[in-house]
């Protein structure tokens, strides 16, 4: 199934407090990436497209964090950090439901964590 792709130059990302995962694609060299920039890091083109991702993907790596880095996050531990290969062709780090394993198909939802909105992946039917 081909993920739906909507061009939206004002797509809001979870890093800015919105409930969405946003990525970029270069119209010239077709490079796809995750960390927001005003240019393509592959060819240098100055007009990359910004898109909202479907939130669907596949678990690439997992780590259950038992030792949180601060008092504020201690009450959340343990929590699962995952890397997910998004269907659109980029990789991102997020939280995941504790039972997730490498290879699982997942879908993103959004939770509050440490005062911020962050993506948390779970099985699509979960």
């Amino acid at each position: 199934m081909q993920p739906e792709m909507t061009a939206d130059q004002r797509a809001g990302s979870w890093v800015d407090g919105d409930r969405a995962i946003v990525y970029q694609r270069c119209g010239v060299c077709e490079n796809i990436w995750y960390f927001h920039r005003a240019f393509c890091p592959n060819c240098g083109d100055g007009d990359p497209g910004t898109f909202t991702a479907s939130g669907n993907g596949c678990v690439y790596a997992t780590s259950m964090v038992h030792r949180a880095p601060s008092d504020a996050l201690r009450r959340h531990a343990p929590y699962l950090i995952v890397m997910v290969d998004a269907d659109e062709g980029f990789r991102l780090m997020a939280h995941g439901d504790p039972s997730l394993a490498i290879g699982d198909r997942v879908r993103a939802r959004f939770i509050e964590f440490g005062g911020k909105i962050i993506p948390r992946f779970g099985k699509p039917d979960g």
Binding site: V15, W33, Y34, F35, Y60, A61, T62, S63, M64, V65, H66, R67, A68, P69, S70, D71, L73, H76, A77, P78, Y79, I81, V82, M83, R91, L92, M93, A94, H95, I102, F113, G114, K116, I118
Partner: protein
């Protein structure tokens, strides 16, 4: 070509009440003494950084404090790769004739100079400030992610990882300066407190106070007879989210280039000094460099391959995992130990008579790679 004229290393562990400058000074004094040089012989200075003493100009702060007036000085920041990057820079400076004797020095009261949370949060900043750090990720979590994928692809078990922690502890037992010297076995590693799965406490290096230094010279002056034969680097990403691969990080490329620049084959290497911030770090580096087949580093360690009496002695001082990790000085201890082994000054832990050492360090999350070939002449 350049020569390592002398080395200095403090014990690692707790040095309560001592500052970064104190620890740097102690290591620098030891390196000068080992090289048979005086302060006024030193005309080049390369420092690292100390998280407990952030400063824009650490090298000249240290020069003034210690009493040096170098013609060439700067600091380098490259995370865990800093120590070998400093050595490589000093090698290039010596070859360029910009300086004759370059002091390379680092030290930090990383354990007693700050709270445990502070240390963890500072280190976590190698993660992306917007896309990774807000998730509550830590350095062990970044390496835990890497470990989960690597173990999945190459059939490595937690028991395999544990073998490397056991090996480093066995080596540390023979070094009076090591932070952790009580023996451990695989079951103890597996039973240790979970930190960031699959990594447990004993899969992780400790936080330490300590210092290390060496003098790199244009000519051989001290009779120690160790020269830097080649060096190279590779930098393929910063953040683990942006790593193009979690099985090919750049260590193989960096080592191949260093061996090529030294005109040496991997088969000629008879001592290895490899960065071991976590058991997974050491596993991946050994296997990507080609010092162990994929998935076999733990089994080789268990079979004695990397022991002092084995075919390829590895980190005979105990590595970061057991000698300790004081920041920049952590990997420098690997170089100091390689120097002692190449000059047959290893004492009780002397590993035969090695003549060609391969050093490899990484910074960030297997992000920055520096490799060096040292030769006993």
């Amino acid at each position: 070509m350049s020569w390592i004229s002398g080395v200095g290393l403090t014990p690692f562990g707790k040095h309560a009440g001592r500052s970064a400058l104190d620890l740097m000074s102690e290591a620098a004094s030891a390196a000068l003494e080992d090289a048979g040089l005086e302060r006024n012989d030193i005309d080049g200075l390369i420092c690292g950084y100390a998280t407990t003493m952030p400063h824009l100009m650490l090298s000249t702060v240290f020069a003034e404090h210690f009493g040096l007036r170098p013609r060439y000085a700067h600091a380098i920041q490259l995370g865990g790769a800093t120590g070998f990057a400093m050595a490589m820079a000093a090698h290039l400076v010596a070859e360029s004739r910009a300086a004759r004797h370059i002091l390379v020095v680092a030290g930090e009261n990383r354990l007693t100079g700050q709270s445990r949370d502070n240390a963890i949060q500072t280190l976590a900043q190698v993660g992306h400030p917007d896309y990774e750090v807000p998730l509550g990720a830590t350095i062990p979590a970044y390496y835990g992610l890497v470990a989960s994928r690597y173990m999945h692809e190459h059939g490595v078990s937690e028991r395999d990882l544990a073998q490397l922690a056991v090996l480093m502890r066995a080596h540390a037992q023979t070094h009076p300066g090591a932070q952790f010297r009580s023996p451990i076995d695989v079951d103890a590693v597996l039973a240790s407190r979970p930190i960031a799965s699959p990594l447990k406490l004993l899969d992780c290096c400790p936080v330490s106070d300590g210092g290390a230094a060496f003098v790199i010279s244009r000519e051989s002056v001290s009779g120690h007879g160790v020269r830097i034969r080649g060096a190279a680097q590779a930098h393929k990403h910063q953040h683990v989210s942006a790593a193009p691969s979690l099985t090919e990080f750049g260590a193989g490329m960096s080592c191949a280039d260093a061996l090529h620049s030294a005109n040496v084959r991997l088969e000629d290497i008879d001592y290895a000094a490899i960065y071991d911030s976590f058991t997974i770090t050491l596993t991946i580096l050994l296997e990507e460099i080609g010092l162990a087949p994929r998935g076999q580093a733990g089994a080789l360690a268990a079979a004695g391959h990397f022991s002092s009496s084995g075919k390829l002695p590895l980190n005979t001082h105990g590595g970061l995992l057991s000698y300790g990790h004081c920041g920049v000085g952590g990997a420098m201890a690997h170089l100091v130990e390689a120097h002692l082994q190449l000059t047959r000054r290893g004492g009780d832990r002397q590993a035969g008579a090695p003549s060609m050492a391969l050093l490899h360090g990484d910074g960030g999350v297997l992000s920055s790679h520096v490799s060096m070939v040292l030769e006993a002449v």
